[in-house]
Each structure stands twice: as C-alpha cells, then as structure tokens.
Symmetry: C2
Subunit: 399 residues, 2 copies
C-alpha cells in the first residue's frame, strides 16, 4: 500500500468469472434493495439460468435471503431476494497514537459493536496484540454461531512512506516506519486485511450507510486530526500512486498565508480544521479540545466560535471550488470529528464559488452536504471497506 506496485493486470477464467458474477449480483442487490432473478439477469446481462445458479449458491451460503413473490403486472411474480444482514460480518479498526477504536459491522455495514481502548504506546508490539484482543472480543460479542468474517479494515494515519509532509501523520505512530501494516495485521488476525487512511474509510462509510448511498462520485472532506479527503470517482476509490491521494489539509488556499506545521504558508488546515478552531478559541481563553467542548460552545451560541466559523468558511469554500473543478463530483460531503451542528453552520456560511463545473442547471443535490458521521466513522468505514470489496468487482464497467 505504501509502495508503488506496478499494477498487475491478470486474465480471467471460469473460476474468476464466477467470483466476479457473484460480486456483481451482490452489488445490484445492495443498490436496489430487492430484486428477482429475471431482473437481475437483465441488469447484469447474464442469462436467467446463470442467475438461478448464482442465486442458489449465494442463498446456500446465507449471503442472501429469499423473500415473498412480488406481483408486477402480468406473469409469474418474481421471488424477491435481498442481502442477508446477518450473512457475514467485517471488522474495522482505527489505530490512533493513544487509542484503538474497534468496530464490527454486519453485511449491510450496520454497526453491531464498537469499543475504544486506550493505549500507552503505539508501537506494533503493543498495538497488534491489543487489536487482536479487541477483535476477538468484538466477534465473541455476537454469540456462538457467528457468520463468516469477511476481513478487517485498518485505518492508520497517512501519509504512507517517508514523504516531505510529516506534520501530522504516521510519524505519530512509532515503530511502524519500515513495517508493512497489512502483512502484520493479516498475520495476527488471520483474516484478509486492508489498510486505508481515515478519510477514504470515512468516505466508504458514507457510501455504505450514510448520505452518499446513491452517489458514484463524491468528495468526502474529513475533519480528523488534520483535514483529509476521500474521493470516490465513478465508484472507484482514488488512491494515487502511493496511497497518499487526498491530502487536502495542506492544499494552499492563501499565498503567503498562515504558517503551517508543514513549513508552508496558507494551508487550508491552518484555517479550517479542528486544530485551527481550538487554536482560535484558545486565544480567546476558551478551551475546545474535544468535540464535546465545541458542542457546548455551539449550544450557547458562543460568539467566538461563530466568528471562527465565519473565518473558516471562506478558505473552505475556495477549496471546495477546487475540488469541484478537479474532480467533478456529484457532491462534496463534509464529515468527521466535528459536531454535526457545527458542520451545518459551516455549510450555511459557505460562500461557494459560482463558476465551477459543479454549477449545473440539472442539479438535484446541494453542492455541499453534511455527512451522517459519528465518532466511530473511520473504524466503521474501515469495516465498510471490507463489505465494499465483496460487492464491487474490479471489472467490466459499461456506461
């Protein structure tokens, strides 16, 4: 994941075809809710017979459930199939310098279990066993005859690899520099593991269970320690050559602006981020370290906080314009570790640029939307990523 892998393009055979088709079917069931065999056959371009076989297999594995027959005009009513929420589970873990957040989700991405564990050290020797124990506990929480575990998603602070940008990142996690987390975690957990950054995971969470369930292309602005960005473009996750795409916090919005910890001036993060907010409020003698603090200030309509919001809105609006022009998304979503009401106010104050490719006559969605995120977003997103992998084939898209 850190390293550039010269992506290997492989051929297909009957077996891989079957795997692909299974994913395609699960994907359609997810996005449509419920469907009959014949309709699935039409959607996928496969024969009804092939669909029958695939459905039979998925049903025997309890990944899908047969529902009532449903009448739609003439003809034999089709048996409606749906994803079985209890058909499988996935683990999600967020590793922070001082804590591990662990989540378990069902086959729809719904939360089954969450837990936060404080850690004294972020070395692999501490983190790995703690994560293992947390995952075991999460799995045992759902009782004895548990459904299959599809895998575990791990969220770690980026950027990956030794890059110029180290202000706030993996540097905070000691002892991981020359390790490959994917291998380490797979070793310990004994399930397939995927490692992603927080913003991407949050974006996937948003697409799986949040406010982007119908979107194929969107940008997710993630308020974490810094300011991250997860981009989904035409259904695909944008990672970049080294897995470091989406470093929104250090996009310059004001030439020669405020000095940032990265050494540059005018990074968006210095204006619009949790850090920026807490620094601003600290100067006014107020504490805003936690989300709770911010919520409290918000509740009493604190004028200083309002002032910060106004100040933060302009740089953000400019950055959103940039995202729109560069990525042409269906919408930009704001989420992460900020009180929802604060995000709402921030959105309300946004003075968006009028001339971007996203200003279109036929828009149905607002250009900027608040994400449906909570404090566990990244860990839940990591788990959702695993679910996501089971119904997104890396294959044959036709417009």
């Amino acid at each position: 994941m850190h390293r550039k892998t010269p992506l290997k393009i492989i051929g297909s055979n009957a077996e891989r075809t079957r795997l692909h088709n299974r994913k395609v079917v699960l994907g359609h069931l997810r996005s449509h809710g419920k469907l009959g065999r014949a309709e699935l056959a039409r959607l996928t371009g496969l024969s009804t017979q092939a669909m029958s076989n695939i459905i039979a297999e998925l049903e025997s594995e309890a990944l899908i459930l047969a529902g009532e027959r449903q009448t739609k005009g003439r003809g034999l009513p089709a048996v409606q199939y749906t994803l079985n929420p209890a058909g499988a589970v996935a683990l999600g873990v967020e590793v922070r310098p001082n804590a591990i957040l662990c989540a378990l989700v069902n086959f729809l991405g719904d939360t089954l279990y969450t837990k936060r564990i404080h850690i004294e050290s972020s070395e692999p020797a501490v983190v790995l066993p703690t994560v293992k124990a947390a995952c075991d506990e999460a799995l045992s929480s759902i009782g004895k005859n548990a459904p299959p575990v599809l895998g575990a998603g791990i969220v770690m602070p980026g950027p990956f690899g030794r890059v110029g940008l180290t202000g706030a990142g993996k540097a905070e996690l000691v002892g991981w520099d020359d390790k490959d987390p994917q291998v380490l975690f797979e070793d310990v957990l004994q399930v397939p593991v995927r490692v992603e950054n927080d913003a991407t995971a949050a974006a996937i969470a948003e697409q799986t269970t949040g406010s982007a369930t119908d979107l194929q292309s969107f940008c997710f602005v993630y308020f974490g320690t810094g300011l991250g960005l997860g981009v989904i473009s035409n259904g695909e996750i944008l990672r970049g050559a080294f897995g470091n795409a989406g470093e929104l916090g250090h996009v310059v919005v004001e030439r020669g602006g405020r000095l940032c910890s990265c050494g540059n001036r005018g990074c968006l993060e210095t204006y619009t981020s949790r850090m920026a907010a807490s620094e601003f409020l600290q100067k006014r003698g107020k504490s805003a370290e936690s989300q709770k603090d911010l919520s409290d200030l918000l509740a009493v309509n604190d004028p200083d906080l309002d002032e910060w919001i106004c100040e933060a809105a302009d740089p953000l609006a400019q950055a959103i314009g940039t995202l729109e022009n560069l990525f042409d998304p269906e919408a930009v979503i704001l989420g992460g570790a900020m009180p929802p009401e604060l995000l709402e106010r921030l959105i309300a104050k946004l003075n968006l640029i009028d001339a971007t490719v996203s200003v279109r006559a036929d828009r149905t969605l607002p250009r900027v939307v608040r994400g449906a995120s909570g404090w566990m977003t990244a860990a839940l997103g990591a788990a959702a990523l695993i679910i996501h992998d089971t119904y997104i084939p890396s294959i044959s898209k036709v417009a």
Copy 2:
C-alpha cells in the same frame, strides 16, 4: 458522456472473458515490448495452453507478430511476440471553433497522417461532413489494403453540459448544446467513437507515445485555449461524474486575485496560460498570439517574456502542489500548445512547495516533467485513446 450514466455493472461469461484476456495480453505486450507465450501466461495468471490459443488468434488477425526465438538460460527458447504496428489503425479528430485537426495513428499510436482543415462554422452540419471527408482521406492515404480501423476519438472543448463555467468552452461550438456528439459521429463515421476533452486526450497521447509510457498515475497539465488537466490514476482515466473533471484553469490560486472571464478572481488561468501570456505581452506592445510568436520571442531571449515566465511560475507551482497533494501522482507533466523551450524555462523557474506527499526519499523521476507534445497532441491523443481501449480492460486489477 455529458450526462451522468448510473454506471452499469455487468456480469461476465466465456465470450467476455475471451475479450478481456485478449486485451490483457495486448496490454502486456505493449508495456513489455516483446514476450513469449510462457512468460505471458505467468504475467496474466493463465495457463500456457490458454495463452497459446489467445496468441494464435491474435496472430491470425495480424495484431501481433511472431519474432525470433530468444534464448534465456536453459530450455526451449521462447518465440517472442510483439504488437504489429501495422495491425490496426485509429482515427483522432480535434474539433475547434475554426478548424478541424485530423490524425491517423497505427497500432502503437505512431502518427501516420495529420491534417488541419479550416472551417467557417462550427455547427454540426458543417463539422460532421468535414470530419467524415477528412477521415476518409486519412484512411485512403495509407493505400488500398488498409488494416482494420479500431475507431475514432473525438476531442471537443469541455465543459460538457450546461454548467456555471462557460468562459471558454463548448459554448464556442455553436449548435452542439443539446446534441450527443458521440452518437452523431458514430452515425457519420460508422466506427466506434469516443469523445473526450483535450487535456485527457493529451494525457493519453503522452502515455502511449510520450514521456509517460511507464507511468500508471500522473497529472497532465495541458496548455490549450485555457488550462486543462488530464488525470490518469492507477491506469484509469479520471472523468468525474459528468466528464468535466480536470478544470484546472479555474482553480483559484490567489484569493481576490485577477478577474477571470468566468467571473471569479484569482483563477490559475489568468496567470499561467497562453491567454495570460499574450495579454501580458500585448501590454508591452508585443504580439504573442501564436506559438510561433512565442518561439520567436523566446529565441531572442525577450526580457518581457522572461518576466512573464517568472510571474507565471509561482501560481503554477502552487497549483502543482495542490495536484500532488490531491492526486498523489508519480509525476506532473506539462504540455500542450506551448513551445517546448518555453515549458522548459517555466519548469526551471518553478519554486515547488517542499511539503507535499510527492516529496519522497525514493523518487526517481523529477516532480515536474515536460511533455513530448506537438501541435497535434489532442488529435493524436484522441486516436491514442482508441488504441488505449483495445489493451486496457475495464477489469480485474490486482495489486
């Protein structure tokens, strides 16, 4: 292409598998130059027998050529196969308000023929027959028993659809607003047609025959009428939800900066673009309408042009930093309708930001590279896009 199509994910069967595998083989032959059957089998994860069959088919269609056996250690030396340059051709067309550029390329993307045709009007009624005639002439230029025509790539100015941003775009092409160019051109030309914007086409040209042949992820900054951006990320073209991704010209680099034709202030295009250069030089009483003018000024080391370059470099450097942080590319390439020497000087003057995810210890390439582009880049890129489609499966990538 303008409209958002809720991308349809389809299943696979034996036939589609074969098509996919053919593409995979062609893709590997393209990137490796020459390969034997056994090695191809290993690369693709297919059996040698399957590879033999695929190779036989491709050879019978003259898409590939058998070369000498080549000894590599023990064992029977493998017959080396290469793409047959003369195995197929593709058309590329750039439609501008006052001209049509037509190109024909061979199966490797090498130029076989180019032509520029002046047009009085850019209405469909004029453009379509002109393009048809130009393509016919291009094809007849290569003689009687011509290889199969894979298709035609068409480059038209974006943005697509009616968007807020109409400063310089399709608006210039009259009578196309409510038409679907893809359908119109396919009707007239009777070959598969793809429509793209200039920057994306140029990026593909760069990847096919230019300086990005080894790159899987890069950003191509295209100096055209305005300033465009083509993004290839992990081998895939980034289009955005409505095909308008990459509108780099209207990314704001200076808050409250120069007034742009789009109505905003501080767009990159107002500092760094052909238009910006010619306006700057006009104020100094010099004409720089054409590339030739610029080349001439450059040849005599014109101080005003030098001054413009210095002035243009800073905003561009900032934008490049943004691209690096958002897309995490292997490199940023500068190209398009600018004299190569000017691009070189511009690159030399760039004061790149030190803290982006692209600043890495293990870099081998420079962060910014000059593209190997000429005046036909977009049309050639359009043709290259068709070639590209024949060896890039939209399928199964494994890291």
